[in-house]
Structures are given as C-alpha cells and as structure tokens.
Symmetry: C2
Subunit: 722 residues, 2 copies
C-alpha cells in the first residue's frame, strides 16, 4: 500500500472548524460524515462549544482524547498552517485542507508553498489545499462538504460482474458534477477524490492508491496537468497491468501556449499532443466530454469490453436505425453484414415488413406482446457470430418496456461475452436506466455510444497487445548503431545520421558554378541545388533552392540564382555554400521529427508533408524509444494511413522502411535528448513497397545553454526540400 | 394556404376503426383526440357498437350524419382502399392512414401505389400510409395513437419572444422520440406530422403548409430522402424568406450507394454530399444527432440568433470553464479577450482568486448569497461588447439556484440582443430547465452547445447575406460565353472550354517522336507528354504520361515509352496519339468537377488534389449555376481554405481566378446538363494572387443513351496530370 492509507481509510477523523450550522461548509462537513455512516471515531474541533451536532467537541487538536489518522481542516486560509502544525505535533498522519485560494493567486500560492514544505518536513500527508475532499462509498467515508452529496445517492455495484468506478479530479466542481451524473445513471461510484491544488498528494499517487486498494475497475480522471509526469507514466503502466481503465478528461488544449520554435515539428506538436502520445502508449482512454466519460465508465463497470468494432444494430424504428448506422460509421465503427443463420432465424420472428439486414429493423410491433418477442430477438442477437457489439434501439420512454422483462434480460446479459447496449431515441425512463445498469448494460445517446465503443475497442486491443503471449507485442530494442552516441557526433550531422543508419540521397557541397556542374555530373541528372546557411533555415521562401535541374547549363545558372536570392533574403553577401543533391523521384511525402517535451521527454513525430500538414495536422506523436510495433501503430494513427497501406488500388508504400526510420530516429532522440532540442526530417519520401525511404532534408536544432539567445540551427547536411 | 388545410385544421374528424379498448391503437386514437380537447365533431366509425368511449358511433362512413373534413383510418391494410373510396364518395377531403406496411415490402408497396393513384384521381389528400398521425398543440388536434402522448405533455410558448417549434418526420418513431425529448426540455412544440410512406402528402408540402400557417419559428425535419427534391428547394427558399429555420436530420449517409463512375468527381461526391450542397445553399441547418436537434430548436425558439462565433464563458468552476473553452474552439467558436471595462467591473464583484480572463472564473463563492452576486455578474455579461454568445456554467443540480432568481433572470434575458445559454456540469434539475426555457435560454451539454452555436452563427450569416440590402449578396449572373452552348460543341472539347473562357496550357497533338520534338520546341521546355485514348482514362497507372521533359532527346525517348506503355496497358496496338503540353510550374493543386445529381441536377465540385483528396475528402459541392459569391463561399467551405487565403505566412493564392473558373464551370454544367454526365478538371493548378489558374487536365464524360453500355469518356483535350 502506498502512503495514503491513513488519508483514505482513517481509523478516526477530526474536523477542525466543525460548526453547528449545516448550511455552512464547516457544518455540512460534519453532518455528511455522520450521515454517511462513517464507522470510526469523529472528533469535532472548535473552541466555541463543547457539543457540536450532538457530538462532544474539543477546543483544539491538542485536546483530542485520542489520535485520529485524519484531520479535515475547514478553517480560514490564514489559520491553516497553524492547525497543520498542531496536527503534526499530535501525531495525526493525514489532513485534507478545504480552504480556498487557488495556486494562481497570491494568498493561495503562499499557502501552497507552505503546505508543500510542511508535508515534506513532517511526513504528514495533505490533500489540497483548495480540495473538496473525498468519499469512499464502500467503506462509508464521506469527507466532503459538497451539497451534491445531499442530492445524489450512490448505488452499490450489482451482481457478480459489475465493478466500481472511481473519480479523481483536480477540479472539485467537476468531481461532484461527474458524481451527480454517475448517480443519475446508476453507475456505482466507489471512491471520489478532489485533489485541489496538489501541494502534496497528487492525482497520480491517488490513482496508485486506488489500484492497490482494488475495488475500482475504472478511474475517471479530470486533469489540468501533472505535477509529476513520470509518476503518472508509472501508474498508468500499473493500471494497465491490473486491467483497470483510466478514463481521462485532459483540459487546456486551447490555452496551451505554443513555444517559439524553429522547426516544423515543434510548432505542430503543441504540448497537448504529448499527452495524447503518452495516453496512447499506455492505454489511457481520453474523452471529449462529460457524457462520454460517464458512458465509458458505465461500459467498463459492466465488465465486458468490445473485442472489435463490428456493431449489430437492432432497432424498432427504421429511421432511428439508419441514423445510428450513420453515426457509428462516422465514428469509425462498422455495421457489417450479419450471419445468414441469424438473418434466417430473425425472419421467423419479425413481421414481413421488417428487415433482417443490419441495421435490423424488427419493427415496433415486436414490443406489443409484453416483451416475449423482444426477448426472443435479443437471444438471437446474443448468440450470433461475427459481431463485437450489439446496439438495441427501443423506446424507453415508458417504465414498462424493460420492467416486464427485467429478470430474463438480466440473465441474458450476464451470460454474454460482448457488450449489448441500449438507446432510446426519445427520453429514457429512470427505471429503465436503473434496470440496464444493474443488468450490465446502459442507455446511451448515439454519438456517445459510437465514440465510447470505438475507444473501448482500441483499449481492448491495447490490453491484448500487452499480454506476454501476444504476437502483437513489441518492446523497444536497442538499435544497433554503427558508433555509440557521443556528443561530438553533433558537430557532424552526417556522421550522426550515419551512426543511426539514416541514409540520405547522394550529395556534395560546392562553392562555385563549375564545382556544382562537376558534382552534378558525378551524382547524375536531375539534381537539386540548395543554399546552406544558418541564416536561411527555410529555403523555399528565400528562393534558395532549385529543383529538377537537367543540364549543365541549368545547374550553372541556378547556382548564381539561388546564391543571389539567399544573399538578398538574409542580407548576407558572404553566403556561398550550396548543396548539390540527387533529385529524388517523387513518392509519398511525409515528415519525421523529434521534440523534447518538457513533461515527457523525447518524442517522435510522424506526419504527412505537403500543403495539408499545417492545416489538417495529420500528425502523430509517440514517446521515444519506439519498438517496431510502436512505429507501425504510429503510422496507423495517421488519418491518411490507409493510403500508405495501399488503399483504393494505390500501390502500398514501403511502411516497413518508414517504421525502421521511425525506430532509428527514436533511438537517436533518446540517446541525444540532453543535447538536441528539435529534429526535422522533411520531406521524407516514401517509395512503393520494397523501395525504401529517402530523408531529403534534415534540420537538427541543438539545445542551447544561454536561455536568452536564439536557438542556433545546426548545419543542415542533407537537403533538397524546403 | 396550400391544400392541406382540411387535413391539419379539420372541421370534424371521423375515426374509422375506432375501438373501445384504449390499450389498442384503434382505441387510443379516439381517446387521445378526445382527451386532447379537440373542438370539432368527432365521429367514431365501427359497425360493432353504437356507442364507443361514450360517443355515438356509426357503422360506416356513408352513415355519418355530417361530412367531416378528415378521416383517421386505422383498419387492417387490406381494407384501407375500400374505406378511402367510401370517404371520397362521402365528400371527405383528407385522410390519415395509420395502417402498417412499409414501401419496401410487397403489401406496403401495393398499398402505396393504390393510395397514390386514389389521391391523384379523387383529390382527397392522404397522409401516409404507415404514418403515425399528426398533432397541433395550439389548436388541440391530437390525431395519433402514439403512447408518447400519454407520457409527455406539451408546453405553450411563453412570454413575448418565444416561438413554436414543429416536427416533420418520415419516421413515426423519430417524430415522437424528438417530441418526448422536446417536452422533457420544455421546448414548445406546435405541430408534429409523421408523413409515413408519403404516397400523397410529402414532407416538403407539409413544411410549406407550416410556413403559411405561421405559428412555427423552427421546423425539425427527420428525413430519409425527398420524393420531390425540386419542391423542397422551393420550400426551403420560402422558409428562408419567412425567417423560419429548417433543422434537418438527413439519414442514410452510410448506406448511400456509390454509383459506378469514371471520374474522380462523381466517385467523391456520393449522393449525400448533394444534400449538403443544397442545405448549404438554402440555409437549411443539418444536425448530427437528436440532442443537437433539440438544442437548435431551443435556441431558435427563444428568438435570438448569435451574430457571430465569439463566446464569453462565465463559470463557477475553473475546470469546467477550461473544458468548455477546449470544446468551443474545437467546434470552430472563438473564446476571445473580453473588453477591459468588463474585466474591470468584474474584478470588483468576484473574489481575488477568481479570474476575469475568458473563460471567466467567477468561483463557486458567487452563488452563496441567494443569487445576488450571480445576477450582478450576468448583468455585466449582458452589457459588454465584443462577444456574440454568453455561456454561463453553473451547477443546476439543485432547484434553488435559479428558482431564487427566476424573475430578474427572465427580465435580463428578455432584454438581451444575443443568446445567453447555460450549462450544468452535473445533472440539471427539471425546474431549472423549465425556468431557462421559459426565460428564453436553455441548459445544454457542452459539445451540443458548441456545435449548435457554430451552426446558428452560420445560419444567421446566411440570413444576413440574403437580404436585398446586403453587400454580401450574390445572384447568379449569366456568364458571357464566346459562343452560346449547343450540343455540337461536345464533339470538340477545346471549343467547348474556349466558349466558357476556360484556358489551358499551350499544347499540341502529335503522332511521331519527331512531331513531338518539333512541338515541344515551339511550346518551350519543359514539356509533358500524355497519351490520348479513350482506353486510358487515368494515365498515371498506365504509365501513359511523362513529366518535366527538358531536352529533345528526352522528348523523343519519352514518346516511345508512353506509347508502348499505353498500348500494353490497354492491349491496343493502334494507340498512337500523344499530347505535348507546356509543363506548368508547380502551385496549389486543386480539382474542379461536375456531376449531375439525380435529385438536384448539375453540381460543381471543388477539392484539394494530391494524396489527401481520397482519404480526407476535403471537397465541397454546390448546385450550378454559381454566383461569384457562391464560388467564394465554396472555397471557404474547404478545410484547407485558409491555406489558399494565405494562412501562416504562405503567399495567398489567386482565389479570384479560382472563383472565376468555378463560375464558368458552373455555367457550362448548367447549360450542358442534358448532355454531360460528369466533368473533371484535375489538377487545376492555382498560382499566387494575380497569377491565375491552369486547368492542366480535363475529362468530360458525355451522357449515354444506351443504359447497358459503358459510359464513353470524351476525348481529353488538355492534359498533363494523371
């Protein structure tokens, strides 16, 4: 068990600042704890009265007759430190500090630093400040003042298969907002922890505690940013090993500042993409909105994940079924042909004017016999092959629809090996939602259903890949480099790239037109010319490159032109060095890059090049180093990946060579992450299967030690793109 | 008034098949009509009993003591035609046929044809068959058997500004599903019409009726396809003129069959894109899911549209505010800096640890004084400038939050000139939703809020553009063509394109290597060679083109090669014609195309070329002919449009020239739509501002009269792409 046992499973609880008035935070805290049925001793602490809410109260912490594990501190911010010191002196092991003030304002910020120092010094673990507390519905510890607790009642996990879902949130309001939504949908919430400003205890550590505690099957995490990103990476791996799903809402995409950068790669990445990369690598499921978060919790709680993306849609309304099919396909699910046996059986059950084709229109008439026909249909759906998910569309406006088949429906669902979920096109009655959740299903709105299933199928695939026996697994292997990495390699990009086996087209540096012609003849026509200068990092806009030169005369003339353009652009008459490079035949243009994320370290980027890269941002990021399987997964995450794999009759590209380049680049980044700031291979031309890739242009930006100085762009040894 | 007055505002109603049993459709129909408070005479018709549900009943239609306008027919499908004939003989003017059977099954299909013929012959207007009836809550005509009516109660439009929303649906189940959701959200529904199989009355005609009837401010349309697309186009224009929003769910994207086609354009279009094009042209708002449909109805019903996309987010929870900002920006809204005066005023109201920056974190403390501070904040928000939409995020879990400020909130909202909407991160109490709707606001989930506002701002812009006084307006102008269109032009594509002023690069047809060299010298190097043959429509895969040829020797050699490749590919040794074309310098590659949509006629397509076109489908379609403003709107609908307009420091492209090409192409398509099946200009190279466009390759597919024969590809006069 990690060190949070005293915080979350305390033997006794002191409430410092407890009040008689239950309309106030300080009174509600005590009342909720008592009403919640906490089994340990409760000690109200307040000098104003010897009895508070019927319990003996104490004037201060020192006067307590016993040493409780935990103190809940609801005194004004100015008194918090004094109370904490008293707690430490008393031997109390943990505290939750509710007092307000965010880390961003002066008062809150000072308290933040003081609490951090205090906790470090005394070992007393502190939740908050500015936390809204925590709850444990299983052991009945309700340590919060949130009024939501008086309006939303938690339910227990039901039946042999349902598991608890817990909520961990840096925002107190979001913690209880999710809680109220979960309760309204009869989702069994085990723990809820509002971590507030995280002066000491941070969300990753809380998740770690919940994994060890063992009652949670899914953790809903509302996140603004990690205090200790590396700790989260560890915890995410532990959760994956334990089969506990972390479902995360990471906010702050829109406000994430874009760092000033030289390379394309860093500009495209932004800090939020690094979170996506980490989440993707470690099987953390990212959600887009609160409703989706609850939906994912519901399905995971029910204990069965979809093993793929094939949906059978069973609908009492053809119109709703058509809409569902559209929404499913839009979200990346498939609505395939169903098994002939299933269709034959179904035709024997449904009216002639129905349809046994997916989406299966069983017609509204099947619900008119008290549920007998509906159950017969659902049994057929449960038994058929070739699908991963069943979606049943039926009106749940009335409580009777499911009420009359509650027992057989529960029995059917508990025996199923894949999810069967329900959608009511109109409103859904409270009791219908309860019956479904307790039977291991849920009522979901269509877009949420589609997105949730898509993500859970990916998560299921992730869990499958990480099994030791899986053929899909891939652990990063050290790349065999020609020369081990050492910092001197940075002074010669050619040697660095050679060391990692990253090949470039034939090329030579020249300083005169006649040298250019001689080298062009040696390399073979056509060639490209490119000015090499730190003052001209992006050649296209400077007119500092010439492509497809086919004759000696063209080369000589182009040399004069590009040098003149570059001198003019950079206002630097000393520019004279030009790279002559083999003009590579056209192929798919991609870019491979590297950034050093301040939170998560070296990351490899892959994206399509050309005009769309900036606008559509079809780029993907992954933490270095990469195993070959990781590199293939990166390629598959591109929206345009099917193009590389040979979609629509196009020739397949050499994805194996591209994956190899990604792995090599990832090792370079990992080895040199102390020295390199950014890396761009752009364009990387990918040729048809078996014909390799060409790194046509490269830019490596070294880390600089002088912070105020412009980052120097390292000599770009290979070149011909822009 | 159109001809549906007798159907929807009947003086009297006969219910044929009416039954005593209110659990059955035939009994419920009568009961709902009576309970709903219908003011005209009601005549149950059933030979089994002289009194049904306390009303005098009649053995058949002929026996009725009076001639009601409308008959509701709920007899078995086999008896429907007989009853309809009786109705016609009696002089009844309209009927609604509830009996089942879809147009797709044999029984339903026969009934469908019989009803269509009957209606044509007698002039008796028929709703259905397979309809679920209609309701008019304002005049209290409840002509349906839907059990939803017993569970959902409609509300009246409130206050001076709220307007009614009506539902028109080809799916009966979806009609009442939307109705139940609308009622749960206190959205005032005026009319609901389930049009069923539309043997006679179709949804476009119903919308026309509703526009003339005048009580609807928005119409929610659930659509599978139009019986008469041209009628819908007329009605949509009428709705726009009347300021009535049509909010449509068009289903069937995923099942829309892709026609077998020769050109890229038709392949990319699919039939669903034509609907998007028509909706976009006529200001019809398309939704993605039921929740969004209700949300849009709510906001339109409240009477104020957003005039732009700038959102001020006012939140009691920083976490929820951050999430909202992410979701808004993702959906295309902006969350801008707020006015300095607003920020200054707000700082005087909110605690120090709040933030006056957008999203404005007013902190949870502002709701602790009975709503006084919250109202003060909302007044500041209502009064500030520089925003188009206010989003207030506050917990509505409890009924008290808004209950205590109902009167001042209503007063504030009724005086606002832009929408102020609310979001409760947790659940929202029923009474809070009621208060908001009645005050002209709504509680919306975040993704739905963001998508709805984005669409309504576009709709508002559409309404603005169609005002006669608007400078943004654009009516299609006849293009001045060199030669008026006549069918003979099709035999010479060059003449056809010249007639419409569509210029191509310099070129010549040749049949020998020496001719090729001579023409290349005349045109000027570099050149491209391309084999011209109907057997080789796509040159790249046949190896039938050669690019960037720079010398006589290269041209001569390439001639032999491309001819050999093409002969081999097409297995046709007679191929000998090659086009020599000026090799155009690189630029932005787009494609312009044309299709003849079976529903909506000639359509122009615009898309980015290159590798992404197939995968990302960044293409847009618009009905021909285009005004210049339409052409610019098409360009702006591309995801990559900002690139053409000069985003991220790139040079702006010549969008005016591109728009001109679109207009010319649209007139060509419009003039020649009887003769042309498909048209492809691919690639169209767009050069920097002022430097024009080049139609590098063109393919025109003539319409063929023999249906079984392969569509012949017309000679591709200009060429060099693939």
């Amino acid at each position: 068990m990690n060190g949070l046992h005293a915080l979350f499973k305390p033997t006794g609880i002191a409430i410092v600042g407890a009040s008689e008035k239950v309309t106030k935070i300080r009174g509600r805290l005590l009342k909720l704890l008592v009403d919640g049925g906490y089994q340990g001793n409760i000690y109200p602490v307040n000098p104003s009265s010897p009895v508070i809410q019927g319990l003996p109260a104490y004037p201060n912490v020192a006067a307590l007759p016993d040493i409780p594990d935990l103190a809940l501190i609801a005194v004004p911010a100015q008194q918090v430190m004094q109370v904490l010191e008293e707690c430490a002196r008393k031997g109390i092991k943990a505290a939750a500090v509710f007092s307000a003030g965010s880390a961003a304002d002066p008062v809150g910020s000072r308290l933040q630093d003081q609490v951090a120092e205090f906790s470090q010094r005394t070992g007393l673990r502190v939740l908050g400040p500015n936390a809204e507390g925590f709850i444990d519905t299983i052991n009945r510890v309700i340590a919060t003042f949130s009024p939501t607790m008086q309006m939303s009642s938690p339910v227990k996990a039901q039946g042999p298969r349902q598991g608890y879902v817990s909520i961990v949130s840096q925002s107190g309001a979001m913690a209880f907002a999710l809680y109220s939504r979960a309760c309204a949908d009869y989702l069994p919430i085990g723990h809820l922890v509002s971590t507030g400003n995280e002066a000491d205890v941070e969300c990753a550590e809380v998740i770690d505690y919940l994994i060890e505690e063992g009652s949670s099957r899914a953790i809903l995490l509302f996140l603004e940013g990690f205090k200790n990103p590396a700790r989260f990476v560890e915890v995410a791996q532990k959760a994956a090993a334990a089969g506990i799903a972390i479902i995360v809402a990471k906010v702050g995409k829109s406000t994430a500042g874009q760092r000033a950068t030289v390379s394309h790669t860093a500009h495209l990445a932004g800090s939020d993409m690094a979170y996506d990369a980490i989440f993707s690598r470690y099987g953390v499921i990212r959600v887009d909105d609160p409703e989706e978060m609850i939906a994912l919790g519901s399905v995971v709680s029910a204990g069965i994940l979809p093993k793929g993306k094939r949906v059978a849609i069973i609908t009492t309304s053809g119109g709703a079924g058509g809409w569902a099919a559209d929404i499913c396909e839009e979200a990346g699910l498939s609505v395939p042909e169903l098994h002939p046996d299933f269709k034959a059986h179904l035709r024997g059950i449904i009216p002639d004017y129905g349809s046994a084709e997916n989406p299966v229109d069983v017609t509204a008439s099947v619900v008119e016999d008290g549920g007998v026909t509906l159950m017969a249909i659902l049994k057929e759906v449960a038994g058929t092959e070739g699908i991963d998910i069943a979606l049943v569309i039926v009106s749940l406006v009335s409580p009777e629809r499911l009420g009359q088949i509650e027992a057989p429906l529960s029995a059917l669902l508990s025996g199923m090996s894949r999810p069967m979920l329900f959608h009511s096109p109109g409103t859904s009655h409270d009791s219908a939602r309860r019956i479904l959740m307790q039977a291991g299903s849920a009522q979901l709105n269509l877009p949420v259903f589609a997105r949730a299933m898509n993500k859970l199928a990916d998560y299921s695939d992730f869990l499958e890949r990480r099994r030791p026996a899986s053929s899909k697994t891939g652990q990063p292997q050290p790349t065999v480099t020609a020369v081990p990495y050492h910092r001197d390699l940075l002074s010669d990009t050619d040697a660095l790239l050679d060391a990692y086996g990253i090949a470039r087209p034939a090329e030579a540096l020249v300083r005169t037109p006649s040298q250019a012609v001689a080298q062009a003849q040696r390399i073979g026509y056509p060639v490209a010319l490119k000015v090499i200068s730190e003052r001209v990092p992006h050649k296209t806009e400077a007119g500092a490159l010439a492509l497809s030169l086919a004759t000696d005369a063209q080369v000589a003339q182009a040399f004069e032109q590009v040098v003149a353009n570059a001198r003019n652009y950079a206002n630097d008459p000393s520019i004279d060095t030009v790279l002559v490079q083999k003009m590579m035949p056209p192929g798919r243009e991609l870019m491979v890059g590297g950034i050093m994320d301040p939170d998560f370290g070296p990351m490899v980027m892959l994206g399509f090049g050309g005009i769309y890269v900036e606008i559509l941002r079809d780029v993907t990021l992954a933490p270095a180093p990469l195993a070959l399987a990781d590199a293939h997964a990166m390629i598959d995450r591109l929206k345009g990946s099917s193009l590389l794999r040979g979609a629509r009759g196009e020739a397949a590209s050499d994805v194996d060579a591209l994956a190899g380049l990604l792995v090599a680049t990832s090792h370079l980044l990992n080895d040199a992450h102390q020295d390199i700031g950014e890396l761009d291979f752009n364009p990387v031309i990918v040729y048809p299967e078996g014909q390799g890739v060409a790194v046509v242009d490269s830019l490596i930006v070294k880390k600089t030690i002088v912070p105020e100085q412009a980052t120097p762009a390292c000599h770009t040894a290979t070149a011909a793109g822009g």
